[in-house]
């Protein structure tokens, strides 16, 4: 350690742009602090009381001045708002084709699952220069996945998928923190993010225990948990076929329609009665508490893989949009 650290690493594509805004606000803060401090010091000396009976003239105020120092801060914060929001808005949606990694938070560890089935705990290996989208859920309380070097964080909620994305642009090992208080060993829910060259990442994926891919795991759970006995691929069972469902428009018994996404698939597993597909009876039991969030993620991945092909899904959405 050399002296006192004052800046975290910049290791993602957005880190630099966030820092620029950070420096801008810092500059504004410094400017106004110095301005106020020096004016106060100047007045304190210049207008110090020279005799006990001194009575200064009353000054009521000045409208032009009030307008001036309302307008200037308004302009400055307007710039900050637009700047900060644009940056945030741009970064709120992952670019198409980002590779996806699943994260499950649990008191007090992070479980990471790569699409090829490689699993790790409290570590996250990612390839350099490739956008990565994290889909995250918690098994218990609220956690928060925070990578300071990437300038990103997002709460990991129980019962709901949250996602965020980043594109690492610097090799190295960086801190991973839980930034939402989650109980006794909150401070121990830390790990590291390891950015490696893409080919090294491929090698890493192949190394270690050669497990099944995430879809394969999902398919296995689909069979083991008995899903496949009702959800027959041809739709002849008591439950709708799941082939081609993901990304498609689903019609419900109450007349509503929705696009089948991760949240819908998850809800249908844990509280199947909430949204019943038109033409079917609410006979499915809830799997809440029987499947872990990791297993549900595997199932979601499997149902995605038998869903609409991506191009079709896009076209379909565009059609819906036109209507």
């Amino acid at each position: 350690m050399q002296g006192i650290p004052i800046r975290p690493d910049q290791a993602s594509t957005i880190a630099q742009s966030v820092d620029h805004l950070y420096f801008f606000i810092t500059a504004v803060t410094l400017f106004f602090s110095v301005l106020i401090f020096s004016i106060i010091f100047y007045f304190m000396i210049k207008y110090r009381r020279r005799s006990p009976d001194e009575r200064p003239k009353a000054i009521e105020g000045s409208l032009p001045l009030e307008i001036l120092w309302t307008a200037i801060p308004t302009l400055i914060v307007a710039v900050m708002f637009v700047w900060g929001s644009t940056l945030y808005f741009q970064n709120s949606v992952a670019p198409p084709g980002a590779m996806e990694i699943f994260v499950t938070g649990k008191q007090w560890m992070w479980k990471v699952e790569h699409p090829e089935g490689q699993r790790e705990i409290n570590e996250l290996h990612v390839p350099l220069g490739r956008p990565v989208k994290l889909t995250m859920i918690s098994e218990d309380v609220i956690h928060d996945f925070f990578i300071p070097a990437f300038r990103i964080k997002k709460d990991v909620l129980p019962g709901r998928y949250n996602s965020m994305w980043f594109e690492p642009n610097k090799l190295g090992t960086y801190h991973l923190f839980c930034a939402q208080y989650c109980g006794a060993f909150h401070a121990g829910m830390v790990g590291s993010v390891i950015v490696v060259e893409p080919d090294e990442y491929e090698r890493w994926l192949l190394g270690g225990v050669q497990g099944e891919t995430i879809e394969a795991a999902g398919e296995r759970i689909f069979k083991e948990s008995g899903c496949s006995t009702c959800h027959l691929p041809d739709g002849s069972g008591p439950a709708p076929s799941l082939t081609g469902v993901y990304g498609s428009t689903v019609h419900l018994t109450n007349g509503q329609t929705l696009t089948a996404d991760d949240a819908y698939i998850r809800e249908s597993i844990v509280s199947p009665a909430a949204k019943i597909v038109s033409g079917y009876k609410p006979v499915m039991p809830s799997f809440q508490g029987q499947l872990s969030e990791e297993q549900i993620l595997d199932l979601v991945a499997y149902i995605r893989s038998i869903g609409l092909p991506q191009d079709n899904a896009k076209e379909k959405q565009q059609e819906e949009g036109k209507k």
């Binding site: 007045f43 708002f81 909620l157």
Partner: protein
């Protein structure tokens, strides 16, 4: 204006302090001034406890692996530090102590509109405090003062219910105090005391009361529901049954963000009084400063979502809340500019209250400006939940609100106690607090930017240097807070007798004797002048 009673104390010492004796005369009093003193003693007690917890935390954090306690204990320390400091010290500090003492005096009334209700508020506060102390003794609570579900409702097996009940009960104390102030300011002003003649302290107390009555009930019901969840697992804030943890956060922050303004607005009012008095000038832009208090109170209700930028709140709601959060910065900036301009061509003297007031402006400016990092979503994503947030709100709440409270205490102490305190020591303590404070909390800005999350019982070694600096500053700060405690207690017995108006201040409270008689004024005064009539012309008119 009524004539000040300036008879020698030896002959006519009758005042609210010696009007009656014995514990019953205190515990059953309905005199707002005595109730203010009851509050003062109780919040000082809680401040010492909360401060002690903070001291232990800073001591613990000297070493990366934690020097003192187990992580579980550390979690309880910061939770109780937050709960006690916020609900049992900061929120009642200026309103319930200085506000209670001064509101009737400043408006020329004999008491608040509902004196019995006022006493009831104190008892409610004490009952809430006892629940909280019980929870601390019975094993503590480890949810953080924010009580986020589902951790607090389902997973924490500490004394969540006791502390929730404590906070719930104390909420009603705050509600009733706010109600009392609003009715009193509306209905009990002395003849001639129009809204635009009110001291700015009353404007800010009024704005504070609005937040207290509109925000606190939402906290009360939220905490109540939380306690039900913890006891019966009803699940509207927990996902097991389909409830939503973010719903809790929405309801919680609907109060808890405006609560920050409950702490800072009265301090701003105190600062306006002090600056006017010690520069012998009317506050520059009186009306604008007054209305900016109300603007802060109203806007403060619209910004709570900035605590939830990274929770998975909708992107669009985030944009709205970010925009509104920036808007709150503007009335705060206006206030700072107006205070600074008040000094222009003034006659500035440097007594202890003025040092506290100037310290307030400095620290509040820093605290307010660093708030912009957190209002801007892109930077907040990085800084949310880190030590940057901790540093920011301590600059506002400790650098701002506590500085304001101490400044006000120094300013009105002669009126409250009838005694003077040693000015040299007071100025020294103001300087020590200012230095100690900055040393404690400035490093935390850097820590936050580096990415150190808050509420960590142990941390990576590279953060150690800054943490040690912070802990060192905390020990200086602790000394700074001890000194006033000692000389205030000393002055109650040994301090020189204070005259009715030791600072040469305007305002009705200075026109009655020190300490005031139980009924405040012999005759209800008639007000014929604006607030802060310090100029020679206005002075001449008065005589």
């Amino acid at each position: 204006m009524s004539t000040a009673t300036l008879e020698p104390r030896v002959q006519s010492p009758r005042n609210y302090l010696n009007a009656d004796y014995g514990w019953k005369s205190w515990l059953f009093t309905v005199d707002h001034k005595r109730i203010a003193l009851l509050y003062m003693v109780s919040i000082t007690f809680f401040f010492v406890i909360g401060g002690f917890f903070a001291f232990l935390m800073r001591l613990h954090l000297i070493e990366p692996q934690g020097a003192l306690v187990q992580p579980e204990t550390y979690n309880k320390l910061f939770t109780l530090h937050g709960v006690i400091m916020i609900f049992f010290f900061l929120i009642p500090s200026i309103p319930a102590v200085l506000g209670n003492f001064l509101v009737p005096l400043m408006i020329g009334a004999r008491d608040l509109a509902f004196p019995k209700l006022n006493l009831l508020s104190w008892y409610i506060y004490i009952v809430g405090g006892l629940f909280t102390l019980y929870s601390a003794i019975a094993g503590g609570v480890d949810t953080g003062w924010t009580f986020y579900t589902p951790y607090s409702s389902t997973y924490s097996n500490t004394q969540v219910t006791a502390v929730a009940v404590g906070v719930f009960i104390t909420g009603f104390s705050s509600i009733l105090t706010g109600l009392n102030f609003i009715v009193t300011i509306h209905k009990m002003r002395a003849p001639g005391l129009t809204w635009y003649r009110l001291p700015l302290f009353l404007w800010s107390i009024y704005a504070t009361s609005i937040i207290m009555i509109l925000g606190t009930p939402v906290l009360a019901i939220t905490i109540f529901l939380l306690a039900l969840e913890h006891l019966f697992h009803v699940g509207i804030f927990s996902p097991q049954l389909g409830g939503d943890p973010l719903l809790f956060q929405h309801l919680f922050w609907f109060y808890s963000h405006p609560a920050v303004y409950i702490m800072i607005l009265p301090a701003m009012g105190v600062i306006s009084e002090i600056i006017a008095c010690f520069s012998r000038k009317r506050i520059f832009g009186y009306k604008i400063v007054g209305f900016s208090s109300v603007a802060i109170a109203v806007l403060g209700f619209l910004v709570w979502g900035h605590h939830m930028f990274v929770t998975g709140q909708s992107v669009y709601a985030g944009l709205i809340f970010s925009f509104l959060s920036f808007l709150v910065a503007i009335p705060s900036a206006i206030k700072v500019f107006n205070w600074t301009s008040t000094l222009y061509k003034g006659s500035i003297s440097y007594e202890a209250p003025m040092l506290y007031a100037l310290g307030f402006i400095g620290l509040f400016t820093m605290g307010g400006l660093t708030g912009m990092f957190l209002a801007s979503i892109a930077t907040d994503v990085h800084l949310n939940g880190t030590y940057f947030v901790v540093a920011h709100f301590h600059y506002i709440m400790v650098g701002g609100a506590v500085m304001g409270y101490l400044g006000g205490l120094h300013f009105w102490w002669p009126k409250i106690s009838g005694r003077k305190y040693p000015n040299g020591w007071a100025m020294l303590s103001a300087a020590i607090i200012f230095i100690g404070f900055n040393l404690t909390f400035f490093p935390q800005f850097v820590l936050g930017y580096l990415g150190m999350p808050r509420r960590y019982a142990f941390y990576p070694a590279e953060f150690q240097v800054l943490n040690v600096m912070s802990s060192a500053g905390a020990s200086i700060l602790g000394v700074g807070y001890l000194i006033p405690l000692i000389y205030f207690i000393w002055s109650m017995r040994y301090g020189p007798i204070a005259e009715a108006n030791p600072w040469g201040a305007t305002g009705l409270e200075w026109h009655t004797q020190s300490p005031p008689p139980t009924e405040n004024f012999e005759h209800i005064p008639v007000v014929t002048e604006e607030a802060y009539a310090y100029s020679a012309e206005e002075e001449a008119l008065r005589v």
